[in-house]
């Protein structure tokens, strides 16, 4: 009986230690997003409170998120400029005020177009919201959308 209790105690402590180590907070320097390569035609959360992933530890992978990207893409406008859209989903019970901006790059990956500006939007609780941005130039472009929580 004593052996069983000891075993259970050790198992509980071990489990709590390993789960405790598996969790990474938003300010951790071991988050995957911090060193992920910059990819074109993508939507990223620059605020790691909104979404973060990590690897390593006993449980090799972990993820925490409040918002996610349902889909994103681009299409030409009536005048030949580029329209980028990103559909965001709120997984929480609270409205989230966010701001997003789009950096445009030409086909060689060179930053182009006007300076990106943060635009506000609200993602309602447990719902979707669409962020849209237009480019100023008519040349073919690649994009990178950055999303963060409004300060």
């Amino acid at each position: 009986m004593i052996h069983l209790m000891k075993f259970l105690a050790v198992a509980a402590i071990g489990l709590s230690v390993t789960t405790g180590c598996a969790y990474k907070s938003a300010d951790s320097t071991e988050l995957t997003e911090r060193t992920a390569p910059v990819t074109m035609n993508s939507v990223v959360f620059t605020d790691y409170n909104l979404k973060r992933t990590w690897t390593g530890g006993f449980f090799s992978e972990g993820e925490r998120y409040r918002l996610s990207v349902v889909q994103h893409g681009q299409r030409p406008s009536a005048t030949g400029t580029t329209e980028v859209y990103a559909v965001l989903r709120n997984h929480t019970d609270y409205d989230y005020q966010i701001e997003a901006r789009t950096q445009f790059f030409d086909q060689d990956g060179v930053p182009t177009d006007v300076r990106p500006t943060w635009q506000r939007t609200t993602v309602p609780a447990n719902s979707l919201s669409t962020y849209r941005e237009l480019s100023a130039t008519t040349q073919p472009l690649q994009y990178r959308v950055e999303v963060r929580e409004l300060n």
């Binding site: 406008s77 400029t81 701001e99 006007v114 500006t117 237009l134 409004l150 300060n151």
Partner: protein, 213 residues
């Protein structure tokens, strides 16, 4: 006993030295606090319910991109001539704002981004242009190196708009809420039709006692 007296003397001397050296100079030789620059496109350390820099930047940027995607403005074979100034942008809100900040930023950013797809008429500089034209016609100065035209440029479109607001105050908490609405409309200067419209709206609530000037 002797050791105790010596120790006491040493302590007194040390204290006296520290006090004297501390009072030796009135100069406080430390680096001053540097000015803090803040990003104009984000909420700064001082924030209230009025229209602020991040709102000016965000709304003019949004309008600029929207205008460039409008085929009636940028899809023409001959670039349209456009006037963007604050002559017809009325501030009917409770926010204190120089409307030139909106129209100047919009015109400049649009002119830079349009890259010839729109031509902007500097109507707010018309008296400056007329003075120079008169000097040229009077022979006081020569004709310049570009060209001579019969008159200054007439415009095809002109920006108009309105800033309006709706305020509410909670007397119990002192929280103030303001809904601000800014409309921009591009008017055909021959027909009077509105060829493009843009709307920017926001609602802010704060308890901070911020004064805008």
């Amino acid at each position: 006993m002797l050791r105790k007296t010596a120790l006491t003397t040493a302590c007194v001397l040390t204290t006296a030295t520290l006090i004297l050296s501390g009072c030796a100079s009135n100069i406080e030789n430390v680096r001053g606090k540097p000015s803090v620059y803040e990003d104009v496109s984000t909420t700064g350390s001082v924030g209230g319910v009025g229209i602020e820099s991040q709102d000016v930047v965000a709304m003019t940027d949004k309008m600029m991109r929207d205008m460039l995607a409008n085929p009636m403005l940028t899809g023409r074979s001959t670039p349209p001539r456009i006037i963007i100034d604050n002559e017809y942008l009325k501030n009917e809100s409770t926010s204190v704002i120089n409307t030139n900040m909106l129209t100047d930023r919009l015109r400049i950013e649009l002119n830079r981004a349009a890259n010839g797809r729109m031509v902007f008429v500097g109507r707010h500089f018309s008296d400056m242009v007329q003075k120079e034209r008169d000097l040229k016609r009077d022979g006081a100065v020569d004709g310049g190196t570009i060209r001579q035209t019969a008159a200054q440029a007439g415009a095809d479109f002109r920006l108009g708009g309105r800033i309006s607001s709706l305020d509410a105050i909670d007397r119990n908490t002192g929280t103030q809420s303001r809904y601000s609405q800014v409309t921009f409309e591009m008017v055909d200067l021959e027909l009077g039709t509105i060829v493009w419209s843009g709307l920017y709206e926001m609602r802010k609530a704060a308890r901070d006692n911020v004064v805008y000037r």
